[in-house]
Symmetry: C2
Subunit: 289 residues, 2 copies
Amino acid sequence: MSLIQTVQDLNLWLDNNGRHGKTVGFVPTMGYLHEGHLSLIRKAKEDNDIVVVSIFVNPTQFAPGEDFKEYPRNLERDYELSCEAGADMVFHPEVSEVYPSGATTAVEVTGSLTKTLCGLSRPTHFKGVTTVVTILLNMVRPDQVYFGQKDAQQALIIKKMIRDLWMPVKMIICPIVREEDGLAMSSRNVYLNAEERKQALNLYKSLQEGEKLVEEGVIAASKIVQAVRMYLERAPLAVIDYVELLDANTLEAVAEVYDDVLLAIAVKFGKTRLIDNKILKSKEERTCF
Amino acid sequence: MSLIQTVQDLNLWLDNNGRHGKTVGFVPTMGYLHEGHLSLIRKAKEDNDIVVVSIFVNPTQFAPGEDFKEYPRNLERDYELSCEAGADMVFHPEVSEVYPSGATTAVEVTGSLTKTLCGLSRPTHFKGVTTVVTILLNMVRPDQVYFGQKDAQQALIIKKMIRDLWMPVKMIICPIVREEDGLAMSSRNVYLNAEERKQALNLYKSLQEGEKLVEEGVIAASKIVQAVRMYLERAPLAVIDYVELLDANTLEAVAEVYDDVLLAIAVKFGKTRLIDNKILKSKEERTCF
């Protein structure tokens, strides 16, 4: 497998490894890979001839004071894990390669999708995400690109960007991967101390609580949100950022549960901000869509 | 030659006409073609195996009150002229095809390039331009794309967008094509009545006046701008929007002439707004770059 740092080498590699006539699957990541990322790489390998994984901690999606500098990094381990999961190439560009000096072009999705949830507490975040994803897609030019449902809002925004701008790529969104006890996999989980890690389990449990209510026939969004909040508040270290029940496609607020609604939460433990979500629907389980 | 209206048919046509292994040149236009456009098509044909011309009057680059509705259109004539000039396919999508219902994604270049010249009197214009060019490039996926130096600011902004976002296309900027008497070709020239058409010649003549001063050794930007303004004011119907001398790459204001500076003007005759420009440099003539 290859480790590549420049766009020039990336193009050379793709040409030499037969970009034409083969399908390319692409998994963009910020590294510090966990089972969630690896599930994307494995799915990409199932679907495509060639799999490219990018590892790039994107500065433009962090606001001043956020954890850009502290964000965990381990290139050697990421390279090995990517390889084991089926990647054919790891692309690890410098910041100066992705954003050459003087770069001032941005791609932005506006409207309901970006105005809610993480868009409220991180107002510049998604503009950074859509810009870097555009750049990486232009560099790699894959047939299919893979994202996780864990970042539900990010996935919807990127899906909309791809559709609005007619980007020539198919997007695949894969299910959340969880630790054995239910905590959603996240590179930021390493920030948690033992007590926070224990209490963080309430994120998943609170989502299950919401789901249980729906299964019992509760449809009022306010009641479900209240129950989830109460469950989260059982964890003394948890500081709730949001608990929202929204239309799963538009992210507009809903008053009552219907197919499909998204129950989304963000909670801080000290400086560590964790997110999780669940699609609530009455009948079938949600799978890779 | 083919006339195509949907992205699905566009892809089918490109696949059937051997996208792979052939080079595709693309000339995006708003139609009502003149010799300026045709020079781009001919250059594209020289450089590429396949030439695609798009004809799309893009609503998002017109502000309310501008001439979107009145913008001249003549598809049949455009189709024939494109064909004669060497185009292999004319792509003429509906507005609803380019911007499906609910599209809210934009591509924007910020900074000095967009803040000056036409960016001042048309503050939403270039965001519309960069967004539609991104969409059209994603649809056609050409190897090379052709623009005219007539819209100097547009060309610089698109060049920057392509570079900043690592778009996989090479941009070619071709020289201004003029009527025999010197008036720069523009689809909007048809708006001019006989007297306005006569006085509009002062645009080109005023640029020549500026160039003459530089050749005579004048380097103070203020003096050159003043001389150009005075020449333009000889035309009683002319209402000057701007006369500016700027760095030809960054569009930042300059105090003195050096290689390369851009002398750019915009003038209104009644409701018709015309632009023209000249690169001032001491030694060589500017050609296709």
